[in-house]
Amino acid sequence: MDFALTDDQRELAAAAARLLADRYPVERVAELADSCGTDPGTWPLLRRQGWCDPELGMVEKGLLAQESGYALAATAWWSTVGLAHPVYRAAGRGLPADPLTLAWQDDPAGGGCRAARHGSGWQLTGQRALVTDATTASALVVAADTDDGIALFAVRSPAAGLTIEAQPTLERLRGAARLHLAETPGELLVAPETAGQVLADTRRHAGTLLACEAVGVARRALDMARRHAVDRVQFGRPIGAYQAVAHRLADSYVALELATSLALRACWLDGTADVDATTVEHAHAEAVIASRQAAVQACESALQVTGGLGATWEYPLHWWYRRALWLDSFDTRTRTHLATLADHLLTAPPEPAGQAAG
């Protein structure tokens, strides 16, 4: 048992933090968010620093996700590496160099997307919603129904019959878009026999990285609150010297550390070959539940501690809070994750407590 980062892993995280701090000072984050902007200029830098290397381990990716959340980096890295690359890998394809994303969610109003054979290829028609980083992606992986079940296709962007319509969102740096496809040409990546499993595995992989991102968001919110608690003087003392303030931040720290442990563990299990699938699934659920709670709690405590300042548009904390709320709601609901764990705990025979290998 050795739950410690290696020196290489520490250096990777430190280098990522330096790059992002340089690229995304807080004024830049606010400016990009304010204008719902994207920042394609960072992409080549990330590639050069190895963020998209195919041999990058899952713990390493988790550390990069943490730093991305801390910096609130306006890049398509998570959509590309978290959501799209696993599908390309499952398909046995090489990884494209440009930003990518995955479109699988239905519009709440209904819709869906179908694929039909057209000559030697396929055409996709319908809609997909809540697609992240859609406007910067050079190709979209789209889940579409075929006569044999769901399959995964690569769609170039731009393409004939493809319209990308931005959906207004609370969180502005990752964005959401609705895709309209009308006989749009698509290339089959994963056939129906395995597409369901590949999609489930991909969502879990991406969700584990989001748990790490949430840890980064929580750490940044706690840092902002801590700095304010030291600088802000009321009644002749820094407010951090009052227990009501200090203890609230100590509780944020507790939640942050618990989430850090569970998120890193979920990464390690996801990236280790001979771990059974249920262990990976449960560790993922635990990490998502704990990290969502830590991010929201840290942001809300920071909003309380930063007082009137934190309630303004100019003070940038709300951009991290918006990301925390996005993380709290994206994809599988917390109650579904809790139900997964309850099924495991109360239906199966109890897991031996204290069993360190589990």
């Binding site: 050795d2 410690a4 801590r226 203890h247 850090t260 809790l338 109360l346």
Partner: protein
Amino acid sequence: MRLRDTAEESEFRARLRAWLATHVPRHHGGTAPGDWTKALHAAGYTGLTWPAAYGGRGLPPTYQAIYAEEAALAGAPDHVNVIGLGMVGPTIVSHGTPEQQRRFLEPILSGDFVFCQGFSEPDAGSDLASVRTRAVATDDGWRVTGEKVWSSYAHQADWCLLLARTEPGSTAHAGLTCLLVDMRSPGVQVLPLRQSTGDSDFNQIVLTDVAVPHDCVLGPVGEGWRIAMTTLAHERGTFGITLTARLAVEFDRLLGTVRDLGLADDPAVRADVAELYVQLQGLRWTGQRTMATLARTGRPGPESSILKLHWSVTNQRLAALALRLLGPAAMLHGPDSHAAGHWQHLRLRSRANSIEGGTSEILRGIIAERVLDLPRTR
């Protein structure tokens, strides 16, 4: 990073598990507490992390964690010399004279010297530095008078690690000294403290002109605060793992209660149980991170400060949930009640969890000042 046992750790775990299966006493009241310690020592399970030069096995802290997990799983009794092995022994290794090391360490390992700790006083609880027990210099050493409270195992102890004020008129952290007090000395009186559960796990120690020879001063005179802090730091090392391992056993018992009461399909109960499990898992794996930092750097990392704090919160939450599950039957107590009153007892006992070993308020203050670098809150 490797989140499972190595081949050596697996083998150690398997052997320990087999040994515990045949050696854990069936009824805890049945054997003398010292016998369990002696059995552990004979089998080589005391002093796992102590340096080999002092009679230990020189193993990394992960092995102590494995012991904690397996002992909790097997329902092994509390080690009567947990204070000697976990706290006093390592302090003597760091600060004792060679003569003290020869005299005390081997008997601590074998269970021949059971230790208790005399730190807290009626007027020195969270504010430990305000201890008033005074030691007056004599020709042969020191004469100690005062009162200590909340001392576990004092009624069974042979020796006590005592914090006393040796410099008349000194205040706070200065002028304190750590003394090794023979509990059979004239003038030592041990009185049980009765807790709200009705149990007596702790004692009051009254000292009246107790003679302590020079060779029983641990560390330099006047440096007692620093020595006492070393002792408490050892408590933080692996104790979090022990607490979490016991909590995991209580959690499994809770699952049994949920099933027994036919509540396994109740959606609200399922959500509560799953949320509690996430807290338990968070504690368990943060404990493992602490262990890795300890193995790597020799001291627990900042994340270790959350373990005791969050353990108490989670144990209290578990006890409250268990009693709620019982419904009106929760008001019953005694042998005929569900699980022989286990949950009623835990509910009462758990409220002291956020007091003993550092109150939650003190622990949050430590996190705020030492980890978050906030200004002093007092």
